[in-house]
């Protein structure tokens, strides 16, 4: 496409969070691709990291991300029952509970981590989720661990 409308030049620096979306290869990453093929626009703040399954992500990775300066981490897996490896997503769900406890200890707001299910056909949902999560993080402000 041609260069889009002039980008909004904001008076005061608006807080632009850095958000990591960790997506499983089989459904969520495909859903993210579908958002692209359908040209659904969502905030630029999202950086996607591809993993094979939401169940392969060690909680430490999330803690690492949030304690090293990411303002939010969104973990996306297949809907329950759809996991390419049977129940990886359910494991991720259990780990999320543990994660919230760890975040509490570190003084990180629990809203900075979210686990969501996105299927390969949910491009629209993926885009909406990205908007929603970005809004949440924007309202929380920068991560307490943000290093500038």
């Amino acid at each position: 496409m041609e260069e889009g409308a002039a980008e909004g030049v904001t008076q005061e620096e608006e807080f632009e969070p850095l958000i990591l979306a960790i997506c499983c290869n089989w459904c969520s990453y495909t859903g993210a691709d579908l958002a692209g093929t359908s040209r659904l626009q969502y905030p630029h703040n999202i950086r996607i990291i591809r993993v094979m399954c939401s169940g392969m992500v060690h909680p430490n990775l999330v803690i690492d991300a949030l304690s090293k300066g990411a303002d939010g981490v969104l973990m996306c897996g297949c809907h329950p029952g759809d996991c390419h490896y049977l129940e990886g997503n359910l494991k991720a769900e259990k780990r999320a509970d543990a994660l919230f406890l760890m975040l509490e200890d570190l003084g990180i707001e629990p809203e900075r981590y979210r686990l969501e299910w996105v299927s390969a056909s949910e491009g629209q949902r993926f885009a909406e989720l990205m908007k929603d999560f970005t809004d949440t993080i924007k309202s929380l402000g920068p991560s307490p661990y943000k290093m500038y």
Binding site: M1, E2, E3, G4, A5, E7, L18, L20, N25, W26, C27, Y29, T30, A32, D33, L34, A35, G36, T37, S38, R39, L40, Q41, Y42, H44, R47, I48, I49, R50, V51, M52, C53, G55, M56, V57, H58, P59, N60, L61, D64, A65, K68, G69, A70, G81, D82, C83, H84, Y85, L86, E87, G88, K91, R95, S119, A120, S121, A127, M147, Y148
Partner: protein, 1003 residues
């Protein structure tokens, strides 16, 4: 059979021909792919986007083009036509003549310097005459093979190219060649031609009014590589088009010009063009004038509804426009059409004519030379019901649009189906004429410092139009370990593959990154390129800067560029830590499980058997046949007795030693993986275990039981299949029959089209008329969707007095029982409601997915579509397989379709499966778990948690991974308290590096 030849000739290298070739070449046959044009790719190479997913045509086709171009077992014979054929099925001798390119094919590198200095400009037919090319040219930038040709009609012999060509490839005196090739079977996939707008539809002003364009010209305009970089501009004055009309059925559904059939694709094509044009020209008003909206394919109706509701495309139905006139001063176009009974005119900036498909121009010639018959419209004649892929001559098969106009997924599945048929003729010769793919020895890189090469794709303007690609390249060069970076117009093109190999060599690269589209589709292509350069394929990573960047931040170029840099930085960080991986070979069981014993399942099992593989059919009912048991006669072809044929088929299956039939059976459990599945079958409560290499899902569909129109309350209200049963028993004595279409579908509950019901209704209406011409038959419909050659029967039904009355959601028929059925319907031509008192009311009920689909999907871990049919890996190009390797689908399990389409798909599934079953061993994923024995404490968490039982404790109490069983899910890695387990290619270290790179402050 001893003198059979293990080679197949494929005539025509469009998407169908490529698919046939790849299937055959991957399952052990030599393939000669003959194309009359200097490069393969066919019509799809000219498309911008494809419906209903809006996938970029070139993006999805490029990997196939490249794969076809470089496959060891495929010989591309371009610029060539068939001269003569001798012999018979199993052993043909085909004489092929090749026109001169005036270029030495073995020397041309495709660098293109010649074309830059060629002084002669020629109208470019690839761009539909909207652009010019040179007299020395390639058809399109991603052309395969990337070899230039000199157009001698225009060449002035200046000698510039010869002087400049460093490779010395120019041969002005090159002579045409002929060669004789021996093959066992032949597949015809020459595609289609466009209807001749200039000669045959003069009144629409095409060729006279500059702003009347064909739908394919518009497609070229929409393309990034087209004449206006993707904008839709008026040819008359270059102004941006603001208001466009699409006129449908030009050269189709029109007996006056000899094409009474429907071209099947134009409705969806027009909707897609309208949607994409609007995306490219914001604010564009688009109107589509059509007779019936034929959105009959999988999820097509959803697309149609979205176009109307979300994109505001205006649809003017039931309209063959009256005329197009031009204002000679403004070159605006005045379109006259009927609106609510009145003639009205409206002004448009541009009119796009939906140009129909015709048989290829050389169809007659081909038919004479090969001795295959054509149908009355010069398409290839096929014996439709039971063998839609066979021509009239044994050993010669047909795939794609040459059999009937059709879209890409149908062409692709037919092409695979034809490949199965072609290979079963010569199954005994499998593997005899092929060369095994050999890669150069792998370079040892483990000890070396990472030297990363980064290749960043413009993807035409898909990425380059938003992201500052050269800027990202410069940035990449500053990153640690990056030894080389460059940008490419299309990183996936064949010439870039060559370039990547060269750069690996020149710069001694030991890691490669491509920043382009999605690894889901393109990673294997690039990994293969790495392997060809002697790099372990796992030393490769991708950054997705298109689907997940430029396309989703289209209006924020600066932000998108920043993000692209970040994404590249992230994978560079990961790439530095990549390790070479080896793949473990796994054995393949040469047999297949077919779930479902309807026509699709039966066909799949028979095809497997013909290919030399064992087949197990699991059928839940007590006999084979499925939905087909309820169909009695056919409208087309020889009006065969369907039941008689079905019985024959079942008999053959039951006596086939390679086919094992389990009736009254269900699949209780499936475990294992590609090549090695283990299944428990429950037969009447008794459990049986089988082992097999692949799975084909052919579970079929069902006829919906209507809830409306007094169905179940009045005995004279019945479904179309019930009615057919009565007709077959000659138990039909009615003066008046009313049929209502779209019962239970195209509504809020099931917003899809069941595809077959219009043709079924026409078939049964004709049967009623045949039995008693005095019977009045009314068909109440929303759109009549008798696509392809069925249109001719619709025409016949109308001629025989069947009355077709259109309704829409607001004017649905009202049915009451007033001591006899009474149907009230608004008659749009009379402009009033009429009352019909039918003796029989026939409901064309939806085809619905089987309710068991959900359970099976869960067992197989494969997805369902939103309408609960099975969802294939890719709607356009992988129609019969799932993303999970080794599992395939066909027939009604995929979506509603005709029996002949089921046969094509079932054969296609077998063809795809044969690419696996024909191998003794496959290589397992290298991306598996590994456990560091020095760290492992032997706690056993992973042993318990592994969903695939791939981990055991060894004699020392240390966890060990059985690599062939490991699927690489990483559950162990995420659960190991000592962090001893990790998944290769996704180790903690690598993921953390990626995260750290992401949060590192951007400069």
């Amino acid at each position: 059979m001893t003198d059979s030849v293990g080679a197949v000739m494929v005539v025509g290298g469009g998407i169908a021909g490529m698919q046939s070739s790849l299937d055959l070449a991957d399952s052990g046959y030599r393939v000669y792919l003959v194309d009359k044009s200097p490069s393969i790719g066919g019509a799809m190479a000219q498309l911008d986007k494809t419906f209903p997913t809006n996938d970029c045509a070139m993006c999805i086709m490029a990997p196939k083009l490249v794969e076809t171009g470089r496959h060891r077992n495929i010989d591309l014979i371009t610029n060539s036509t068939i001269d003569k054929i001798e012999g018979k099925a199993g052993n043909f001798k085909v004489t092929v003549s090749k026109k001169s390119r005036f270029i030495d094919e073995s020397k041309c590198t495709g660098c293109g310097i010649c074309t830059q200095k060629c002084p002669v400009e020629v109208v470019d037919e690839y761009n539909k005459g909207l652009k010019v090319r040179k007299a020395i040219f390639v058809k399109y930038p991603q052309a395969v093979p990337l070899i230039f040709s000199i157009d001698k009609d225009y060449c002035i012999g200046c000698g510039n190219c010869e002087r400049l060509c460093k490779a010395g490839a120019i041969v002005y005196s090159q002579e045409p060649e002929t060669k004789v090739l021996e093959v066992g079977s032949i597949i015809l996939s020459p595609g289609f031609d466009e209807f001749d707008l200039v000669q045959k539809r003069k009144e629409y002003g095409y060729g006279r009014f500059p702003n009347v364009v064909s739908s394919l010209e518009l497609e070229r305009m929409l393309s990034a590589t087209g004449p206006f970089g993707g904008l839709v501009l008026r040819p008359s004055d270059g102004e941006v088009v603001k208001k466009i009309a699409f006129v449908q059925c030009v050269g189709s559904r029109d007996r006056s010009i000899g094409n009474p059939y429907c071209s099947s694709v134009c409705c969806m094509f027009a909707i897609k063009e309208a949607v994409i044009a609007q995306e490219h020209n914001p604010g564009l008003e688009a109107t589509i004038f059509f007779m019936d909206m034929r959105a009959f394919g999988k999820e097509f109706d959803d697309y149609y509804v979205r176009a109307e509701k979300e994109h505001g495309i205006r649809f003017v139905k039931n309209n063959r426009i009256s005329s197009i006139a031009e204002d000679p001063i403004t070159n605006n176009l005045l379109v006259t059409f009927i609106d609510k009974g009145n003639l009205v005119s409206e002004v448009f900036d541009m009119v796009a004519l939906a140009v129909g498909m015709t048989a290829p121009k050389d169809a007659k010639d081909l038919s004479e030379k090969l001795g295959v018959q054509l149908n009355p419209y010069d398409f290839c004649s096929t014996d439709i019901l039971f063998s839609p892929l066979e021509t009239s001559k044994p050993g010669i098969f047909v795939g794609g649009a040459f059999g009937a106009p059709k879209d890409i997924p149908d062409s692709v599945s037919e092409a695979s189906g034809a490949a199965a048929k072609a290979s079963s003729v010569i199954a005994s010769e499998r593997g005899k004429l092929v060369t095994v793919k050999e890669y150069p020895p792998e370079k040892e890189v483990s000890g070396e410092e990472p030297r990363i090469g980064v290749f960043i794709c413009h993807c035409g303007i898909n990425i380059g139009g938003v992201v500052d690609v050269p800027g990202v390249v410069e940035y990449a060069k500053t990153l640690p370990n990056v030894a080389y970076a460059e940008n490419n117009l299309y990183t996936c093109s064949q010439d870039t593959q060559k370039k990547i190999r060269e750069k690996i060599e020149e710069n001694n690269l030991n890691r490669v990154i491509v920043a382009s589209c999605t690894p889901r589709t393109h990673q294997p292509l690039f990994q293969n390129t790495c392997a060809e350069a002697g790099l372990n394929p796992y030393l490769f990573e991708m950054a997705n800067i298109r689907d997940q960047c430029s396309w989703v931040h289209m209006h924020e170029p600066a932000k998108a560029t920043q993000k692209a840099k970040d994404l590249v930085r992230m994978v560079v960080a990961k790439a530095g830590l990549l390790e070479p991986l080896t793949r473990v070979p796994i054995e393949v069981k040469p047999s297949g499980l077919v779930i479902g014993g309807g026509l699709s399942g039966i066909t799949a099992a028979q095809e497997l058997s013909k290919q030399g593989f064992e087949a197990f059919i699991v059928e839940r009912e007590n006999e084979l046949g499925g939905l087909m048991k309820r169909v009695h006669y056919e409208m087309v072809g020889e009006k065969k007795d369907v039941q008689k044929k079905l019985k024959e088929l079942i008999k053959n299956v039951n006596s086939d030693k390679k086919i094992h039939v389990f009736t009254n059976s269900t699949v209780k459990d499936i475990s294992g993986y590609i090549g090695n599945f283990k299944t428990t079958i429950d037969q009447n409560g008794e459990e049986k275990e089988i082992e097999h290499g692949i799975v084909i899902v052919a579970t079929g569909g069902m006829e919906h039981k209507p809830k409306e129109y007094l169905y179940g309350e009045n005995d004279n209200v019945m479904t179309q299949l019930e009615f057919e049963g009565k007709l077959a028993k000659k138990k039909m004595d009615a003066d008046t029959v009313v049929m209502i279409q779209c019962v239970g579908c195209r509504n809020d509950e099931r917003p899809y089209c069941s595809r077959v019901c219009c043709t079924e209704a026409v078939k049964n209406a004709l049967k009623v008329k045949e039995m008693n011409p005095a019977t009045s038959v009314y068909v109440l419909f929303k759109d009549i969707r008798t696509y392809g050659f069925s249109e001719v029967f619709y025409e016949e039904a109308a001629k025989n007095g069947v009355k077709f009355i259109r309704y829409d959601d607001e004017t649905k028929p009202k049915v009451a029982d007033k001591k006899g059925l009474e149907v009230k319907i608004w008659e749009p031509f009379l402009g009033e409601e009429i009352t019909i008192k039918p003796d029989v009311l026939v409901l064309s009920a939806a085809t619905i997915p089987h309710p068991d689909n959900a359970d099976l999907a869960q067992m197989l871990k494969v997805p369902l579509s939103k309408h609960k049919f099975f969802l294939e890996a890719h709607m356009k190009l992988r129609p019969v397989e799932f993303a999970t390797e080794g599992i395939f689908l066909c027939g009604l399990a995929h979506s509603p379709k005709f029996f002949e389409e089921c046969v094509s798909q079932a054969s296609a599934a077998v063809s795809r499966a044969a690419t696996i079953l024909s191998k003794k061993t496959l290589e397992a994923e290298g991306m598996v778990s590994s456990i560091d024995e020095d760290i492992c404490s032997g706690c056993g968490t992973c042993v318990v948690i592994c969903p695939f039982n791939a981990i055991e404790k060894d004699e020392n109490g240390i966890a060990r991974v059985t690599e062939v069983l490991c699927k690489g899910c990483g559950t162990c890695a995420a659960s190991c308290p000592e962090k001893a387990a990790s998944i290769k290619q996704f180790t903690d270290e690598q993921l953390i590096a990626q995260v750290v790179a992401a949060v590192k402050e951007v400069n």
